[in-house]
């Protein structure tokens, strides 16, 4: 046994006054009495009384000193041999992912994990420490190193559940960093190990998982419900749904649009093979889609049986025409749905707010730098930021097309004959989309860094007005300006395929039950104080019955 606070031993000096009190004797007073008969009768009895009667006073003193020592010892915080094992330091990694909401029996995995962590906290001794992390992305420290059970229990209360899956690797890395600053620290993970396949590398043989490995859980769930507008024809939308089940499953999926029934389909899943279905439609307005999967009793995870997503409405694109009137271009733009045009005479230094595209023609183009708004220059007549005009070409056909570019997809510009075109040397960084015998006709940069495009000829002076190719090209250009959020799609937060399949990544060997008794642990001082209570009561009883003096 050792004492964690030995300075309190000075309190044992309180024993001195206690001993002193026992040494004090009552002063005997002289009294006159009428007869000594009674004293003579009891004198032999007193002289022949048992030893313990004679020692009652010292027994009493012993008990008083024992009580004193027990209380003083408690204040000294004794550490007994069974407590003197090295301090245990544990980083508890708590998995809040969606799969932990699955029910194995009556309780969910989350509830079971919380209970187990509570038990681990209850078993902490004074010298033990624990830290708790939540395996979110990024990982969250719920509690730093502490031996305070109150702090740890409050920390668990603060742990939130996720609706999605989690990759535990970042949390395990952080847990390892935490163990570096504490000797003999170890990591315990409260999880069902339903993790993505890439996390398998993190499952080392010494990883301790405090959970139950259940690879037989039955769950069918929606893993994808998403809607998206076509980049080519933004009025058209497609809605995709996917359902998975680790075992053969047959059920029904109800689809609603804006609260009204839209479809009801039979779902048949083979193990590990997702069931897929797509719906298509066309609208420029927004819509909300909601899917409900009818499952049988015993479905482990309820959070993947419903999903919803939103299709945002199409907004009109604002095009600013800079330069003299161009009937062909104006008519072309009018024919493209949801495009609003306005006109200015000079190419602006900065476009009005909300402008999606500036179309300049002739000599109207940016001079010092390209504006942040995308720019289309039609038949520029001078060199500029976009390139150098080296000459002109007459009656030249389009011979080369960059078919891989989405801007020219469906735009059959091949074999178009251009009456008159500039002979251009594009600026560095420009890509050529269409050329005639090696001479760039349509070129520019249209990516995240910059958006400018040059049509190096007058479309009206070609056979393009007789074809759909050019309007399709301009439409492609415009539609590429619709960002995904504006064009409309929103995805429901679903647990995802990994969570819905509920397949544990870690082998059974990593799962360990709690070691040791689940009975509460009492520190040494507590047991000593309890002994003090017992002795105190005993002393009181002995005193009351005059077994002690």
């Amino acid at each position: 046994m050792s004492l964690l606070f030995p300075a309190a031993l000075w309190l044992s000096l309180l024993g001195l006054p206690i001993i002193g009190f026992y040494l004090l004797k009552t002063r005997q007073r002289r009294r006159q009495v009428s007869t000594l008969l009674f004293w003579q009768q009891i004198k032999p009895k007193i002289e022949n009384s048992p030893l313990w009667r004679k020692l009652r006073r010292w027994l009493s003193l012993l008990l008083q000193l024992l009580i004193l020592m027990l209380v003083v010892l408690a204040i000294c915080r004794p550490a007994f041999d069974w407590e003197k094992r090295a301090a245990q330091r544990t980083v508890a990694v708590f998995d809040p992912s969606a799969s932990m909401q699955a029910a194995d029996g009556k309780a969910t995995r989350w509830q079971t994990a919380r209970t187990r962590l509570d038990e681990a906290i209850a078993r902490l001794r004074v010298q033990d420490e624990m830290a708790i992390l939540s395996a979110e992305n990024p990982p969250r420290i719920l509690s730093g190193w502490t031996s305070s059970k109150r702090t740890l229990r409050e920390a668990i209360t603060g742990a939130g559940e996720l609706r999605t899956g989690t990759d535990p690797r970042a949390a395990l890395d952080l847990a390892r960093e935490l163990t570096v600053v504490r000797e003999n620290a170890r990591i315990e993970v409260y999880s069902d190990s339903v993790w993505p396949e890439v996390a398998r590398d993190a499952v080392k043989p010494d990883l301790i998982l405090r959970g139950d490995r259940n690879d037989k859980a039955v769950n069918a769930g929606i893993t994808l419900l998403a809607v998206r507008r076509s980049p080519v024809s933004p009025g058209d939308w497609q809605l995709d749904a996917e359902v998975v089940s680790p075992v053969a499953f047959a059920g029904t999926l109800e689809m609603r649009r804006d609260g009204m029934p839209m479809d009801r389909v039979e779902v048949k899943c083979e193990p590990g093979q997702p069931w897929k279905k797509s719906w298509r439609g066309s609208t420029e307005f927004g819509s909300t889609f909601a899917a409900t999967l009818q499952v049988s009793a015993g479905d482990a995870l309820p959070s993947d049986n419903q999903a919803s997503c939103e299709l945002a409405p199409l907004r009109p694109l604002r095009v600013l025409l800079a330069g003299p009137p161009d009937p062909y271009m104006e008519a072309l733009l009018e024919s493209i749905p949801l495009v609003q045009t306005s006109r200015v005479l000079m190419f602006p230094l900065k476009a009005p707010d909300g402008t999606d595209l500036i179309i300049g023609s002739g000599s109207h183009g940016p001079e010092e730098r390209f504006p942040s708004t995308p720019v289309l220059l039609v038949n520029p007549t001078t060199s500029g930021l976009w390139g150098k005009l080296e000459g002109s070409l007459k009656d030249t056909p389009v011979t080369d097309l960059d078919k891989k570019s989405t801007l020219v997809s469906h735009a059959n510009l091949g074999s178009v004959v251009i009456e008159e075109s500039g002979q251009w040397k594009p600026a560095p960084g420009a890509k050529v989309l269409a050329a005639s015998l090696g001479n760039p006709l349509i070129f520019g940069q249209w990516d995240e860094r910059a958006k400018w495009m040059v049509i190096g000829f007058d479309p009206a002076k070609s056979d393009l007005p007789l074809r759909t190719a050019f309007p399709i090209f301009v439409s492609n250009l415009l539609q590429s300006l619709r960002d995904e959020s504006g064009g409309g799609k929103a995805m429901a937060v679903l647990p995802g395929r990994v969570e819905s399949e509920l397949h544990p990544v870690a082998p059974a060997e990593n799962f360990q039950s709690m070691q040791g008794s689940s009975l509460p642990v009492f520190p040494g001082w507590w047991l000593v104080l309890l002994a003090g209570v017992v002795v105190l009561m005993l002393e009181w009883f002995f005193y009351s019955r005059r077994l002690t003096d």
Partner: protein, 848 residues
């Protein structure tokens, strides 16, 4: 837990073991005992003692219930968090030391912590100064990890403050962590630290187009930065070869340097820009690269034993618009970045012994993981004759490199004489045993095999017996290494055994790694030769008597092999076995016969095709398809799909040996061009686009697919086959996130080029694929940018801290409180002691 009086003036109590309050029932017991007491005390003293005893019991019971008192406290703990990364290079430690010297901590506890990619705690500044930053990955800076560690190490019940000494430049990490600091009431102050002022020149950025057409000019623009103006040399490398140097007079700050180049034969161009200067301190940031993919004509690499004989094929293919690069056997690519330049690889009569295991594994991955095409041509060093049996190359080929021996082929008696001396212990003896087993498997039931091991003595392990005997392998496995080296007795035994055999062909393969005792080697070999026994020898390692072994092979009419790599021994043995059996090669004129119509053979004038003069007998694998056969029905052209790639086996050749008449045929070029195009790595059909974004060391890949007719394609699954800069390949699934969109992310911790093949498939059949690359440069630690005050400012303002705090006043404010939890039981125990002494005094004080 029970809160007795929550939050009264910021105080609260709680009891951790409330169940033990039941012991308060002892108080009535005390009074009951008192009522029946016969103790001599009377009057007020008697009453006083029972009251005191009751109070003592109550105090002890409450102590046992572990009450805690949570009270506000302004005691502070300060963590001085010092950046140990390369970007500040010790300046943060100096700044922290100065700060600590001047600071008035106002009674706060101070903890020293260092961090870079990881973190650690120190007992004081001296320990921090002596520590080696290498322990915390100084080429990274992770504020999320550092601040998380700091948050985890605060003691409970303290007001928490962090003073961060750093330049604010992170190489990775998630800034979402920072909002958690506010939740945990941690105040972060920041002292910006500038990197040391020393001469530095670095290549900051290299821009090149992601893809170009063949022969299209392109610009490679590099941003070279310096803090010491002056002349430097800037080099441009392409695929490891320096192709240009510019002398540039740099101004202070960033400078743009431009190069021009064109893509010619190579498909994957790895450009690196390097700067050389006398005024430079760090070398890690002097080079940076970019990858460019050259699109256009299919590129084919022919690796051949005789490059001069490839000129016919080269010319014919050029007419068909295919660029053929020709290399000798030693030129087989050994890096993924080299082999990725080509859409198809052709092996022309190059034996397996000319390739290392690593090269064969690379070929295997190139086909399976990256969709490259592979064609093997026939010859006397091809297929089994080339030793390809049971190699990674045989795995990808559509034919097996063993074969069924015909009934009329002469039987072979093969004696394997194997050194089992002590020096053969380990890998050598295991490879020798594997080689013997492989040779025995290649023989037919009418052939004979014998295995003789030798050290100082001779041990017939497998006496000459039918090769079909199932116990041969078990007997071979019993060979163990020990002893000296004496070849002569074993050769004598081999001669004795083979002389008595009725087999038409007799051959000895002798393997040793050492120098034998003297013996009549010439006589023995001569005798063997005279009795129709040929002898080949294999020398393993540097310690073998190469001269003697070479002579024995010459005397014995066989072949001599020398190798330092024991793992090539099985290939040598199988090659020897097949060569000795003389049945693999069939040399007679025959016409190629198409089996059935297929697109890549259309338009080839088979009716006019001349004779081929020979081929190698092979066996097609079960799921392969044979398109051309010989007149005897043996496969001439077989193909199959292996992983993402397609491979083919043409068992005749394309040179002036067996194909001498084909060289003049007008279908020669068309046939080879169409076949090679069929095998070429699939070009994207234009169905999908791949976009990549890099953030904090993680690459995020987005694949968008759109079918012109179908719209967003349905029923597709996506995956990426990724090769790290160190050549390790792995597969990553693509997750569908939207109609027509798939996404994935992966970390890019290594510097260099990451190559990836994206594949979209339906029901296991490829629908579209795209090849892309990503070039990862050096860590941001080596950019030596000025401190990111914006980041530090947002971090401090979010948590209530300041930038450049005044060390004398920053900790004196005391405007925050923390909840300090204190145990109450010791106080209660002290009260028990006091009351106890009083109780004894009342009872024992003498009465007047």
């Amino acid at each position: 837990m029970v809160f007795l009086q929550p939050e009264v003036d910021g105080l609260s109590f709680e009891i951790l073991r409330p169940a033990w309050l039941f012991l308060l029932l002892l108080v009535p017991l005390v009074w009951w005992v008192h009522a029946r007491s016969i103790a001599p005390l009377r009057g007020r003293r008697r009453l006083a003692t029972v009251i005191i005893r009751s109070v003592l019991i109550v105090l002890l019971v409450f102590a046992l219930s572990e009450p805690r008192w949570v009270r506000p406290s302004d005691r502070e703990e300060v963590i001085l968090l010092v950046d140990e990364s390369r970007s500040v290079d010790g300046k943060a430690v100096e700044a922290a030391e100065k700060f600590a010297r001047e600071a008035n901590f106002a009674g706060a506890d101070v903890v020293w912590m260092g961090f870079a990619g990881g973190g650690r705690i120190f007992r004081g500044i001296e320990e921090l100064k002596k520590a080696d930053p290498a322990d915390v990955r100084p080429a990274e800076t992770r504020f999320d990890t550092a601040l998380s560690l700091a948050a985890a190490n605060f003691r409970p019940g303290r007001v928490k403050s962090v003073v961060l000494f750093s330049d604010g430049v992170a190489t990775g990490g998630d800034e979402k962590q920072f909002s958690l600091l506010k939740e945990q009431a941690i105040r972060v102050h920041a002292v910006p630290v500038a990197p040391p002022d020393r001469p530095e020149v670095l290549v900051r950025e290299v821009n090149a187009p992601a893809s170009v057409r063949t022969n299209e000019p392109m610009q490679i623009t590099a941003t070279v930065q310096t803090n010491r103006p002056g002349p430097v040399d800037v080099d441009l490398y392409r695929n490891g070869v320096r192709i240009a140097t510019r002398k540039v007079d740099l101004k202070n700050g960033p400078n743009e340097v431009r190069f021009e180049d064109r893509a010619d034969r190579e498909k994957l161009l790895l450009y690196e820009v390097g700067v050389r200067s006398t005024q430079d301190s760090i070398a890690e940031n002097n080079q940076l690269g970019a990858a460019v993919i050259s699109e256009g004509a299919a590129k084919v690499l022919l690796v051949t034993d005789r490059p001069e004989s490839a000129r016919y094929l080269e010319w014919a293919l050029r007419q068909e618009g295919i660029e053929l690069s020709v290399r000798p056997g030693q030129g087989m690519p050994s890096q993924m970045s080299d082999i990725q330049n080509f859409d198809t690889l052709v092996i022309d009569n190059v034996p397996a012994s000319d390739l290392s295991r690593q090269q064969m594994d690379l070929l295997h991955s190139y086909v399976r993981d990256f969709g490259g095409g592979l064609l093997m041509l026939g010859g006397d060093q091809a297929y089994g004759l080339g030793g390809y049996y049971r190699t990674p190359v045989e795995e990808v080929l559509p034919v097996s490199c063993d074969f069924q021996r015909e009934e009329e082929v002469p039987s072979l008696a093969l004696a394997l004489v194997i050194d089992r001396s002590g020096s053969m212990q380990g890998e050598k003896i295991e490879m020798a045993k594997a080689a013997a087993r492989a040779s025995a498997e290649l023989l037919g039931p009418k052939d004979y095999v014998s295995v003789i091991a030798f050290d100082s003595g001779c041990y017939p392990v497998v006496p000459l017996q039918s090769a079909g005997n199932s116990s041969v392998a078990t007997q071979i496995a019993s060979i163990e290494a020990a002893g000296g080296t004496n070849m002569a007795p074993a050769m004598e035994e081999a001669l004795r055994q083979l002389s008595g055999s009725s087999a038409k062909l007799k051959h000895v393969i002798l393997l040793t790694d050492g120098i034998s005792e003297q013996g009549p080697f010439y006589e023995l070999t001569n005798q063997m030769s005279q009795t129709g026994i040929t002898v080949s020898t294999v020398a393993v390692g540097d310690g073998s008597d190469t001269e003697l072994l070479s002579q024995i092979a010459q005397w014995g009419g066989g072949r001599y092999y020398e190798t330092n790599d024991p793992s090539t021994v099985p290939q040598i043995f199988t090659k020897e076995t097949m060569t000795a059996s003389k049945s693999a090669i069939q040399e007679f004129p025959f016409l190629a016969k198409p089996v059935r119509a297929v697109d890549f053979l259309e338009g080839v004038p088979w009716s006019d095709s001349p004779f081929l003069l020979g081929y190698v007998r092979t066996k097609p694998k079960p799921t392969s398809e044979t398109w051309l056969v010989t007149e005897r029905g043996d496969p001439l052209l077989t193909t199959w799909r292996y992983g993402l790639g397609t491979t083919a086996a043409f068992t005749s050749d394309a040179r002036n040996r067996w194909a001498v008449e084909w060289l003049r045929w007008n279908g020669f070029g068309k046939f080879w061009a169409q076949l090679l195009r069929r095998l070429s790595r699939p070009e994207s059909l234009g169905l999908s686009e791949v976009a990549i974004k890099e953030k904090d060391g993680t690459l995020h890949v987005t694949v968008d697919a759109l079918d012109p007719v179908e719209g967003f394609p349905s029923g597709l699954t996506g995956s990426i086959r990724l090769a790290d800069p160190d050549g390790k390949a792995r597969e990553l699934p693509l997750e569908k996130t939207l109609p027509g969109r798939w996404e994935t992310s992966f970390a890019t911790p290594l510097k260099g080029i990451y190559s990836a093949q994206m594949l979209l498939a339906r029901d296991g059949q490829p629908v579209d694929s795209r090849f892309f690359t990503y070039s990862r440069g050096y860590s941001k630690e080596f950019l030596f940018d000025p401190p990111d005050r914006e980041f530090l400012s947002s971090l401090t303002s979010e948590t209530g801290g300041v930038i450049d705090p005044d060390p004398k006043t920053v900790f004196t404010r005391k405007d925050r409180r923390a909840s300090l939890e204190e145990e109450l039981w010791p106080l209660l125990a002290l009260l028990v002691l006091a009351g106890f002494v009083l109780d004894v005094a009342i009872r024992r004080w003498p009465e007047r």
